[in-house]
Symmetry: none
Subunit: 114 residues, 2 copies
DNA sequence: CAAGCCAACTAGGTTAACTATGTTGGCAAC
DNA sequence: GTTGCCAACATAGTTAACCTAGTTGGCTTG
């Protein structure tokens, strides 16, 4: 489910799917749930789900087959793996930075008020 | 300009921008044209331009600054011992995440109390 | 002159609607 | 039984609209 953490929904969903793939919860060769199903289970609109899947597709984690579904890639290319992990870490760091800045802002507000 | 080659427009535009960055036509630290300008010069809609820029952003080639523009990243050089740095970053991110979650939890407690 | 407001720009996120295209299963017609 | 059609569902791409939010520059007001 998409949480209201300020992190965009399409990134949250992409993270979740990435995690399910990495953990083997969705095995290589297996299809992801359909976009409609994902939209329902995540409580999001079709658009954001499509954006999320598009991200994974761009990262090479999954391949889409028109009319059939989106399947987890069988081969785990190490070079690409590094690349995917890099983008993952990069977004994670960006997320942490943002959250920290929010905390710092509210903290300074509290200080100034008192 | 977007051609009718079957390759999606948002990929064509991303390719073009990537090329301009790689060639130095848009130097590091410099901003890309605004999305509105890009849409006009490429003869595309705002939506596809935003998708293209989103791709580059995801790749880490550029960073967006709300209200100002999208800027080419200053640092391009990839490190050699990528793997080691990756594990180091992974543990650092995990640590930061844990600490931040603790902070956020106590912060929300304070909010609820007041 | 200085402060503050405001309009015009910027990126970013979300949603909805439409089109194109491929796959699959069932059903009717022959 | 086989063929062919067709409805339902799938991904994929595009566009438009609306909203949030940050930045900047100019103008007005005190």
């Amino acid at each position: 489910m998409v949480k209201k953490t300020g992190r965009p929904g399409y990134l949250q969903i992409a993270d979740e799917l990435r995690e399910q793939i990495r953990s083997g919860s969705i095995a290589p060769g297996e299809p992801l749930p359909s976009t409609a199903q994902l939209a329902e289970t995540f409580g999001a609109s079709l658009s954001v789900v499509k954006m999320s899947v598009g991200l994974l597709r761009n990262e090479g984690l999954v391949v889409g087959q028109q009319g059939k579904g989106v399947f987890v890639r069988e081969d785990a290319p190490p070079a690409d793996d590094v690349r995917a992990e890099l983008t993952e870490l990069r977004t994670a760091v960006a997320d942490l930075t943002r959250r920290l800045e929010q905390l710092e802002a509210s903290a300074s507000q509290r200080t100034a008020k008192s």
